[in-house]
Every structure is written in C-alpha cells, then in structure tokens.
C-alpha cells in the first residue's frame, strides 16, 4: 500500500489562516431570503383574516405599513406586486411614526423596533382592527397579534389571543391552530 507522509501540521496552519479570514464579523444587511419568506407568510395570513369591521375596509386599496426596516417593505412590495387582497390592489408603505399608521390593515413591526417604541405602537393599535405583525422574540407576548420567529432555521408564528380578541379581527381557526398561542386570557 502506498503510504504517504502527511504534512498535516502545515495544512492545519493554512486552514487556520483561511478560517480566521472567514470569521471576521461583518456588518450585515438583513437576509433577503428570510424577509421574503416572512412576506410570503404575511400574504398567506391575508387569506385567513377578516377585516370587515375596519372602518377603512371599503377603501379601494388594501394598505400595509412597515415600521422599522425599509427592506421589509421592499420584500412585501415584491410579494404583493401582482397580488390582490379581497379583490383590492395592495399598497405597501414604509412609515416612521405612529401617527402614519391610520388606515392600514396590516402593520409590520420590524425587529429593529425597540421595546419602548413597540409599547408606543401597541398603545395606538390595540383595540383597533389592525393586524400587527412583529418579528422579534418576546414581541408576541408583549402584545403584537402575530409574531414571526425563526425556530431552528424555520419560520414559525405566535398569536397573542388577548390582543387578537381586543382587535375585532376575525381569524380563521386553521391559522390559529398552526400557530403558537401566547398571552393569557
């Protein structure tokens, strides 16, 4: 059998150099794939939620607002560009303050929103027929109606049944069954 002398030490050293270059942390943009998938979830949610009690439900457009990360609104624009909700075209708007929420049916609260700002947003939306969707651990318990979370590389969602109950939105039981219920009743 051909036996070769292994110069393993040299190669390990080389790979340490190689990998030390790889693991230098870099500032990163949020991953488009994750945002697109989350936007896909939001599109699916629209099939299972009834906004008929929303005072703006007769508007000609179905409005979705994003607060926090503009990239999320870009992902939503891609998903909803040729999609209608309740036979209405969808308008996605990026907003920066609570007073811009007004006539939107869905408010997406991105993970860049801190907890103080979240409280301010939820003070405004709770009790209104606005579907709030956040994407940060703990935000479901804090009062966002739906909270998208990444579990072991898969996207899952929590539903806060208390805030949902206060909102006047009707949600299909199939959607509720597939989510994790949080909040106490």
């Amino acid at each position: 059998m051909a036996k070769s002398s292994l110069h393993i030490g040299k190669h390990i050293a080389l790979l340490i150099i190689l990998f030390s270059g790889l693991i230098i942390p870099c500032r990163g943009e949020a991953q488009t794939r994750e945002l697109l998938l989350k936007a896909g979830y939001i599109e699916k949610f629209t099939h299972f939620v009834d906004w008929s009690k929303n005072p703006f439900s007769k508007d000609s457009l179905f409005k979705v607002a994003v607060i926090g990360d503009k990239k999320f609104s870009l992902a939503l624009e891609q998903i909803f560009s040729n999609i209608k909700v309740n036979e209405k075209s969808v308008k996605v708007t990026y907003i920066t303050s609570v007073d811009q929420i007004k006539d939107n049916m869905i408010l997406v609260i991105s993970k860049s929103i801190g907890s103080d700002k979240l409280d301010e947003i939820l003070d405004y939306t709770t009790g209104k027929t606005i579907l709030t969707i956040s994407e940060k651990d703990g935000y479901g318990v804090r009062g966002s109606i739906i909270n998208l979370v990444v579990v072991d590389e898969f996207i899952r969602y929590e539903i806060n049944r208390v805030t949902l109950g206060k909102s006047g939105l009707k949600m299909n039981s199939l959607l509720i069954k597939s989510g994790t219920l949080v909040g106490t009743k």
């Binding site: 870099c26 794939r33 896909g40 599109e43 699916k44 072991d152």
Partner: protein, 663 residues
Amino acid sequence: MKRLFLLLMIGVNCFSNVFAQEKDTLKADDILKMSFTDLMNTKVISASKVQQEIKDVSATVQVITAEQIKDRGYFTLEEALGDLPGFQFRNINGFNSYVFLRGAPSQNNLILLLVDGVQINELNSGGFYGGGQFNMSNIERIEIVYGPSSTLYGTNAVSGVINIITKSSNWGKKGNISMLAGTFKTGMLDFNLRNYNDESQIAYSVSGMYKVSEKADLRGIDGDNNWTGEMENFENDFSLSAKLRIKNFSAGIIFQNKQSSMTTNNKSIDDKYFDRNTLWNISFLNGFVKYTYNRSNRISYKSTLYYRNATVNPNTVNNIIKATDTTSGNQVGYYRPNHLVGLDNQLIYNPFKKLMIIGGIIGEIEKLSDGFSISNSNSQFVPPPAPSKPDMLNNNLFSYYLQLNYKIINKLSFVGGIRHDFSSYYGRVLTPRAGLVFNTDKFTAKFMYNRAFRAPKPWDYNYGTGNELLKPEKMHSFELFTSYSILKNLSFGASLYRNHINDKLTLDISGSDVRWVNENKLNTFGLEFYGNYSTKSLSIYANYTYTNSYEDEGILIPEISMHTANAGVTYSFSPHIKANLRANYLGGRNNPMLIPSTGDNKIDGVFLLHGAISYNDFNGFDIQLKVNNFFNEVYYHPSNRFAGRYRQPQRSIMLMITYDLFR
C-alpha cells in the same frame, strides 16, 4: 497553493464591503407558488453538504419525495431509483444488489450513499449495500446528485451521490404504523413517531422496520438452471433509527441488520456449492452528533462528529462446499469488523450577497479488517467455528475543501472548488471542480467540469493474490444541463455529459490467480432527457437515457444498456382514491461472460409495467394494493459472478395498510 488560498481570502475580505446587496435566488414568485405547509418547511437560510435551491446547485439533481414513495409503493431503494434517468442495475436477488449510475458498473463503490448526511458505504469495500434494509416509510426525500462530487465528499462520489433524508417533525406530533404482505413470502412491519415541541425547541423521531422476502422464484428452470429445485433464498432486514434535535444540537443513530442467504452468489448446478443453509449477516451502525451555528445569516458553522461501523458478523456462513464421494465438504465462515470515527467542520460564509464560500476540514480515523477472517468446518453439514478476529489496519485521513459560489451577474454564477485528501493508505489526491450556473425564472443552464476519485480499500488491496501498488481511479467529467419550465406545472430538462475514468480498477485474472490492477479506462458519453407535468389531481413523468460506455478500443462495457426509458402517471380519482402506473424500458446489454443457457452473451431488453392503487384516509387507514411486473415478463440481469445470468422477479403483488397515529 498556500499563496492561492491566502490571496483568495484577502480578496474576499477586501471586496466584502464593495458589492451591493443582491437578491437570493429564491424569488417572490417561488414563494407565492408555495402552500402554507411548503412555507413552513422552507428554511430561512440556504445552507446539504450545503443546502441550496436545486436550480442553484452546480450539478444535475433529481429528487424523490415521500409522497412519490408512498403513491408508487416503493419497497426498496433500487425500486425508487429505477424510475429515474441514468440508473441501471445488476440485481442478484441475494445479499446485495448493484446500482450503476451513468454507465459505470461497479460493486456500488462509485456511488456515495448518505443517510441524513452521514456516509453509509461499507467501510472495507467502499461500496454501499442495496436491498431491503432501508425503511422507505421513514424517508422524507431522496436527493440524487448526478456526476462527480468528490470536491465536497471525497472518495466514492464518482458517478453520483444519493442522499436519503429521513423524516422529522417541524411541527407537532406525527407518526404512523404500516403492515405489508405479499407474494414470495414478503412481509413488513414498520413504524415512525416524530414530534416537535415549540416551547422547548426539542424535536425527536424514532422509527423501526422489519422486512422479510424471498424476492422471486429462482428454483431450477425458473432461475435459468443456476440453482436446484431445493434452493433457499431469503432476506430479513431490520432497521431502527432515532434522531433528536435540541436547539442547535442534533444527534442521530441508525442501525441496520441484513441477514440473507448467499445462494445466489454462486451457482450450485454444475458447481461445487450447496444452495441452502448459508447466511450473510451484516450490521451497520451509523451515528452523528452535530452542532449548527448561524450568525446573522451571514456565517453558518456546522461541526459533525460521526461514527460508522459496518461489520460482517462472525456467524456468517459465506458458502457451503458440497460433499463428494471422496470429500465431506465444508462450511465457510466469514467475519469482518470495521469502524470509523470522523469529524467534519464546515463553515459557510457570505461576505456579501454575490459570494458564498464553503470551507471544510475533515479528519477520520478508521480501523479496517485486513480482510475476511475465515473459518472452515470439516463437513458440509457442520457449521463453521466462529472465525478469530482479523488483523486490523489503521487508516487516517485528513481532508480540506473550499468552494466558492460567485454571482457574476444577476442570473449567472460561477462555482469553483477544490478538495485535498491526505490518506495514510492511498496518499494525496487533489480534486478540483468548476462550473457556471445560469438561472432565469423559467430557464436553467449549468456547465460543469468535475473530477472525482475512488480510492482503493483493503478489499481491493488484498483481493485474491493482492496488489499493494493500487492507486485511486480518477474521473474527469464535462456536463451540460438545461431545464425549462414551459408552464408553472410543465417542465423539461436534459443533461449531456462525457465521463472518462482512467486507472480503472480492473480484475486481472491469470490462471487461478486474481487481483485488482489499475489498467483499463472507461469512457461514457450520455444523454438524459426528462419531463414532468402535474396538476392538482394528475402527475406525469417521463425520461429517456442514452448511455454509450466503452473502453479506449471502442469495446462496449458489458452490463450497460445504451437505451433506457421510464414513464409514469399518478391520478387522484377523488380525495381518497389514487392510482399509479409506471413503466420501465431497459434495452439489451451484454453479459460479461457467455451464458450457458443461450450460448452467447446477450441479455434481451424488456418492457415492464407496475401499478398501485391506494385508498387513503379511511378512518386513519391508508390501504394500497401494488403489482410489480404486471405482465409477468421473463427477464434477466447480468452476472459478473459466474457464467450465467440472473432471473429477475416474476409478477409480485403486495398489500399494505398504514395507520396514521395522530390523524
């Protein structure tokens, strides 16, 4: 080489802040086509050895899904592979069966078989075992990567890689239990249970299977007069597996035991072998512990510690020599333990959206038997004593690999990589690859150059009179793959490839002495063409394969047919009733040796029809009736074992009942 790597890394770091964000290849349209369930089963990172969308992988890839396995009633791995382009078989209806991909016959050591990412090729020979030991009910999907993949996987990934991904739960409790009965004393019991708890982020799955079958009637004339009317042929397979995932940690273990008669390994009519009471008893134990770390979706790191054990157990009776007027005959016992421990560290780094770097370091220590330890009894009727433990050989392997996926423009990517293996057995092997992948929403084109190798194993070094000078056989491969989605539910694809294996390991026969030598070459020019169409209630597939495998002198390689084709249709008559019809055409091919019953070496082509009808969800029960070889065709596979050919199974009928435990 060092300079090249350093320059690459410097380049990566310098350019990481320059390039703007690019879109992932997963498009909004792809997501909109997904069902809610699809979405829930889609990972947020494209992380396989590297998980990527199939269209982005620089190789031809086919996937068999759990739904297809269920609808078509696949009973063995070979049955599932047989409906895909590029596959041909030497089924000896015995302790093993051999799978040839892309025109290269072998002892299954040119294809790498993985279960949940861990190689399960037998350690001493490097070949995997075909047959019934795979629990088909527990398979989520089978991914087949066509062509060489040694750049990522090292030795044996020459003709392709088959990766079996077992079921696991990403949401709630799931599970079922199945029972099957059929002709040729075929029976099976299997179960699987799986659960995912969202709060604790713990997922587990457990599955088991016991399968028995005599496979076919091979007695006397039915078996082409290779064996007597009293011949015995059985296979009993047992499989038990478990997986656990807790947050970033996962672990899995799979135990498989195959007990089979060895009758079909030798001829008994006009030969010295007795065709009953033999036993091939081989066990496989494979396990892994894996840690996965993702940072900002930019860096992901995976470290896998794995253990592999493939042991031919000491109660194996490989063959029995018949008594004669002057001798009492004897039984021959075999024993061959082997095991391996390895560590695979992989880093995937996306410094910017145009570039993905995959790097890995692998270390393995294996203890392999020098060869079979053999014992003999002194009579045809007396079992052999347990063989002593054979001498064990230590083999160490160190490997590293690096692959770059660089998006040149939005729709065009370059893939390049190398792997360097350092083995205490076969020395060092450098394996490069390069390719271009062009993707639009509907059209995909891939042009690839790959190299691969198959390292000799102790089985090769020590076979017959032995040959210590063996070196790895190496393949060069060029391939062009294109696919086009005409409609959302109608797609076509084609692969055109040219493979060249040099230093081919060839059996050198000199009188009664045999040994493996690096001598011949194998050239293959091939074309694979496929189409798929599906609606809500109908799915149709069809494929055709042209394979021209020849030696340098233009001599056709035996056992390989030039033309094969497969087609199938599945139709849902109602939400409960589904029917499936599958057809295989295998063109004529040459046997390696003259066939005594015909006087030539020709094996005729055959057209086979199989079907299954299922009634699903009847109070939690699924019931399926399946018929293989509907027209009871008489057909044969080649033999490289003795002068003859192998009769294939007659018409077989199976009834399977499955109960959903958590409906």
